[in-house]
């Protein structure tokens, strides 16, 4: 187990190094002079030189790469061109809001996806199965930005069931200000007992979380269905059938446990995917997360901010994969040799 852990960790570190080099390369592809982008079009030649000096733009590329890595490790993720704040501070504020949204979406996806996957497997090739397969296929095929606009128009605009945009009612900032601990609004409101902000945030969270949940719900339902059907064809299921267990109890009592392991791996994979998918949704619902930050950065061609977001999400992705592999290696010794 220890050897497996060490090998897997080494692999992850190698990937992180590659990710950093790749991000650096992409940033260097930017047409135009980064010094001009930072100092502004009206900068004097002296100011441009100062900017070049500050970012080491005259150094050879390998030297710049080393400097870039050194800065990253020491916590200097560059300065955003549009907020003029250190990118690290911006990310520190934006990432928790994204986590909140994606966490809520994955919660919906697990709570809805696994039961309907079980339902489809129980009635395979019958009507519920067709319904679930059709629905889950629609859910993974829908363009999120369009679904966000449509739900916003119908459920927030026409029916007025949910607020149109934002994370919570901003007038609450004066009546019951929120003490920040984790920067995750729901968690902070919960631990400080700030009920007005908690209910307002949950109410604002419903629509964007539903939209982000569409894709993970679909894939989780499909995966649950497929693995359950496979499990129910195994020898242990034949034994249970012979012993007189009904199909439903075979699925939920015996087949579901082993089937959940691949579903767990899938959840980690869709987690990072959903963060990026959430980008488009956040911008539409004005959710103050990474997506809104990235959208603004894209509009102003703010490369340090883009690089910061890219790096952060890639790191989260590597970490999620690592956690799943270690967990599976822990639960299932066969996974260690793969």
């Amino acid at each position: 187990m220890l050897r497996y852990l060490a090998r897997r960790l080494g692999q992850a570190l190698l990937v992180v190094a590659g990710v950093v080099v790749l991000t650096f390369t992409v940033m260097r592809l930017v047409p135009g002079d980064p010094a001009v982008a930072f100092a502004g079009p009206k900068a004097t030649p002296e100011e441009l030189d100062a900017a070049r000096e500050r970012f080491g733009l005259d150094d050879p590329l390998p030297v710049q790469l080393v400097a870039y890595v050194r800065d990253l490790v020491t916590g200097d993720w560059g300065v955003s061109l549009h907020t003029r704040q250190p990118v690290r501070d911006d990310l520190y504020l934006a990432f928790p809001a994204s986590l909140e949204l994606v966490g809520a979406a994955l919660l919906i996806a697990v709570v809805v996806g696994i039961p309907i996957g079980v339902l489809a497997a129980r009635y395979k090739t019958k009507f519920p199965d067709f319904g679930v397969r059709f629905g889950s296929m629609l859910a993974v095929s829908v363009p999120v930005f369009w679904l966000a606009l449509a739900l916003q128009l119908l459920l927030a605009g026409r029916l007025d069931w949910f607020p149109v945009a934002g994370e919570y009612d901003s007038s609450l900032d004066t009546t019951s200000p929120l003490t920040l601990w984790t920067n995750i609004t729901v968690v902070d409101a919960l631990i400080t007992g700030n009920w007005p902000i908690l209910t307002s945030t949950l109410h604002h969270l419903v629509l964007p979380a539903l939209v982000v949940a569409a894709y993970p719900t679909g894939v989780i339902a499909q995966m649950t269905r497929a693995t359950l059907i496979e499990e129910s064809g195994q020898d242990h299921a034949r034994l249970e059938r012979a012993l007189g267990f009904g199909e439903t109890s075979i699925l939920t009592k015996f087949a579901l446990r082993p089937a959940l392991s691949p579903v767990l791996a899938l959840i980690a994979l869709v987690f990072a995917y959903s963060i990026v998918n959430g980008f488009l949704v956040e911008a539409i619902f004005n959710w103050p997360g990474l997506g809104s930050y990235a959208a603004e950065a894209i509009r102003s061609r703010d490369t340090p901010a883009i690089a910061g977001v890219t790096l952060l999400v890639a790191l989260v992705y590597v970490l999620a994969n690592l956690v799943v592999d270690v967990l599976q290696g822990f639960l299932d010794p066969r996974a260690r040799t793969r």
Binding site: Q11, V15, L22, V30, M137, V140, P143, L149, A295, A307
Partner: protein, 288 residues
């Protein structure tokens, strides 16, 4: 997750076609044929020429304009038909470029094994550490916005999947007796790869391509929606949704129908891809 490729490596594609009993896959195939036809015949099918008529303004759906007209007076149905050309050609280009690069590297990695395989696989690990949309987003931001940028940006994120798939299939084929026989007869390695390993690795790759087409179309639409892809006056579904966004509460039809077009196209490809995969995977076939 176990992968089906070992069991599927040597099913020739032609034997698989009559074996798609799945109604979903059939529905997907029919939809794709219709969409491809619409794309090819767009100039003849379109009820109006794709040009602005600013004097008419944006009309709601009706007998004259089934899907209404946009803020420049252009017929939305016409633009959706032309948009099928953009979306399908992006999808075909991305899949062709990434499969070509990915399969070449993958077959080499799988046949050669050893440190060659390790080196290539570590590079794919790095690219796979980025969610596809994220890396293409970063690339599309630094390149000038155009359809070509979208194709490049997505292809850069997509090839490693084919490398992995082709490598695992090629590795299993490299141990087959007929490959051993060829090696003993002194056939040079490049020829073995070309004549034996490559043709037998293609079926799972083709299936994976049909599974991926929906995802490529969604990613491309998202990039165009963000303004990083096709530009005015090109008809592109994602761009059309974005153009309809500001008027969504009043003139909902401008953005709604192009979005539906993306949904139906991605849906059709996903259906067909899933059907093909089930037909290929004996474990999945056993139960349906």
């Amino acid at each position: 997750m176990t992968s089906p490729q070992e069991t599927t490596a040597e099913v020739p594609l032609r034997r698989l076609l009559p074996r798609v009993p799945d109604r979903f896959a059939a529905l997907g195939a029919v939809l794709i044929v219709l969409i491809v036809l619409a794309a090819i015949m767009a100039p003849w099918l379109a009820p109006y020429p794709d040009e602005p008529r600013p004097l008419e303004g944006s009309l709601p759906p009706g007998a004259a304009h089934w899907f209404g007209t946009d803020q420049l007076g252009r017929d939305v149905l016409t633009r959706i038909l032309y948009g099928a050309r953009t979306s399908l050609s992006i999808a075909v280009s991305v899949l062709a470029v990434s499969a070509l690069a990915g399969v070449t590297l993958g077959v080499v990695a799988g046949y050669a094994g050893g440190w060659v395989r390790d080196a290539i696989m570590r590079v794919t690990d790095v690219f796979l550490a980025f969610p596809a949309l994220l890396l293409s987003l970063a690339l599309a931001v630094v390149l000038p916005p155009s359809v070509t940028t979208v194709i490049l940006a997505i292809a850069v994120t997509w090839w490693p999947w084919y490398t992995r798939l082709a490598a695992s299939v090629a590795a299993s084929i490299a141990t087959r007796p007929y490959v051993d026989a060829a090696r003993c007869l002194g056939v040079p390695a490049p020829l073995i790869v070309w004549r034996h390993v490559l043709p037998n690795s293609l079926t799972p790759v083709l299936v994976q391509m049909s599974l991926d087409a929906g995802g490529v179309i969604l990613t491309a639409a998202a990039l165009s929606y963000l303004g990083l892809g096709a530009q005015e006056p090109t008809a592109e579904w994602g761009l059309m949704v974005q153009q309809g966004q500001t008027l969504f509460t009043t003139n909902w039809w401008i953005g709604t129908f192009p979005g539906l077009a993306i949904l139906v196209t991605a849906f059709a490809f996903n259906m067909l891809g899933e059907g093909l995969r089930n037909a290929l995977d004996p474990r999945a076939r056993k139960v349906t």
